[in-house]
Symmetry: C2
Subunit: 306 residues, 2 copies
């Protein structure tokens, strides 16, 4: 029966693309591996299949008689793969809060795809799954921690006041109890379902500060938007650090009050992979990577919270 399928595939691709290197890139394996595939077939047949020449690879005479068949065969297999959506296995569909996707996941995904080229991501808002085969692979949410086995707790958040560096300096120049007077308070609704996450009125009371009408101010649904307002000196907000570590680290965002004035959320970001989806090696790799990146974020948060 027909054997050496991988060798034939490597061979056909090497000839079509003109080099073992380009075939390797297409197959996401090393050139050495492509060379081994081709050589194994040559050893098995006891003849040369490629002429390694001056301007790359060319099929040998022995191979030429089979090459048209090979081209057609792999073209048809590509068509079958397309029909079956075989590449689906290399795609990872993630539904996540858009704040998480934009501020935390997207900046980091380059590290994953550098390790695993050939992976394509489709990232959508929560509940915003495309009409494709089956539901999304990975769903990330912020809510009460679940302990079912398919959930991974990514990280809780540490919420405290955030401002622009300019506003931080101006606040520091004031007396302690008057520090919030004269600065607009921006309200972020992202954490409102979390009993542990403070809103301005509770925070001000807890810190024994003075601020008239603390419940007043613009409300924002999304962290991304309130962050933009803060960056524009529009005011202060209470915000979790987890998603904005990059902005804090490069000092585009600043902490106008001591770190100890913050509070951990009781809710957490968590992921849920569909049970069957972890049969795919690419998906297991992604999950492992995600868990590792989140461990780093937890570490950074612990250092920030003191």
């Amino acid at each position: 029966m027909l054997s050496h399928l991988k060798s034939l595939q490597a061979l056909e691709l090497a000839v079509r693309l003109g080099s073992l290197k380009q075939a390797a890139d297409a197959l996401s394996i090393t050139p050495a591996a492509v060379g081994q595939r081709v050589k194994a077939l040559e050893d098995y047949l006891g003849l040369d299949l490629l002429e390694r020449g001056r301007s790359g690879l060319r099929p040998s005479q022995s191979l030429s008689v089979a090459l048209a068949h090979l081209n057609t065969a792999f073209r048809e297999l590509d068509a079958a793969a397309t029909a079956l959506d075989l590449q689906r296995g290399h795609e990872i569909h993630v539904a996540a809060p858009s704040d998480f996707a934009e501020l935390w996941l997207a900046p980091r995904l380059g590290r994953f795809t550098a390790l695993h080229p050939n992976t394509r991501f489709s990232i959508n808002g929560e509940g915003d799954a495309p009409i494709r085969i089956g539901p999304v692979d990975c769903e990330i949410s912020f809510g009460p921690p679940r302990d079912e086995p398919e959930y991974d707790i990514l990280f809780r958040d540490y919420v405290l006041p955030i401002s622009s560096p300019e506003n931080t300096r101006r606040i520091a120049a004031l007396g302690r109890r008057e520090r919030l007077e004269g600065f607009p308070l921006l309200h972020l609704d992202f954490y409102r379902n979390d009993p542990a996450a403070p809103a301005w009125p509770a925070w001000i009371k807890a810190q024994k500060l003075k601020r008239t009408a603390p419940e007043r101010g613009i409300r924002f649904q999304r962290i991304t938007m309130v962050v933009e307002a803060v960056l524009a000196d529009a005011g202060l907000t209470l915000c979790g650090l987890a998603l904005i570590s990059a902005l804090v680290e490069d000092k585009r965002l600043s902490l106008p009050f001591p770190k100890s004035t913050g509070a951990w959320t009781s809710h957490a970001f968590q992921s849920r992979f569909r049970k069957d989806t972890l049969a795919r090696p690419q998906m297991r790799r992604f999950r492992d990577w995600l868990v590792a990146e989140c461990a780093e974020t937890r570490l950074w948060l612990s250092r920030m919270a003191g």
Copy 2:
């Protein structure tokens, strides 16, 4: 890039032949292995590809859209395999003395092909290679032992008088020194280049027997032919036991004189595999099997020789 080639092959074959069992037979693997291949693809895609029904397997609706492409693809791959002589790897070409082939190898090959179906043999006389790709895979000869690594010493031979049971009884009824008078001596040239292998004159002198004109009698080139003559009561011959063990064991050939009257050859049957050909797993298996069968023949010869 295209993956799951083995799964797609198993899938296409299972649908085409109507069962996992028949696909397994065609692929020379177990039905369990075929089932695993198909299931791996189904898990990967997150959908069913086969309907396991009352009258065998049918493609699911998901698979139907790809099936024509798969059929064409594997038909083209079969054509490419034919053009490349890919099945060549499952063929083993042996050049051996026809006596060895007929009396020793052919009766035993059934044991090999029972273990390794899908292997086809092409056995020719020594030096009688077909005009095919490259020389023969395995060459067996009888000659001075070689110690180059590509040679395996199969077995030496143990040469002594051989007759039909009827002639053995008639010889035993005679007096000791007259036992060869009246019986035609048949001469076998197979061992004539071996200084240790006795011919009739030397054997008679060594045994201190009496026989007028011991050099007279019909000469045979081939063991097979002289054996047929002996079986027909045409006379006695001096012959090695190695290739005729079956005839001796079922008593169609007999030893008219004690076993101790025999002599080991200094030459030996030996095999030589072309260096590169042992890259093929089928060839390694054949070589291992051959060496093991020959070890059994050596053991039998040792018991016969005392």
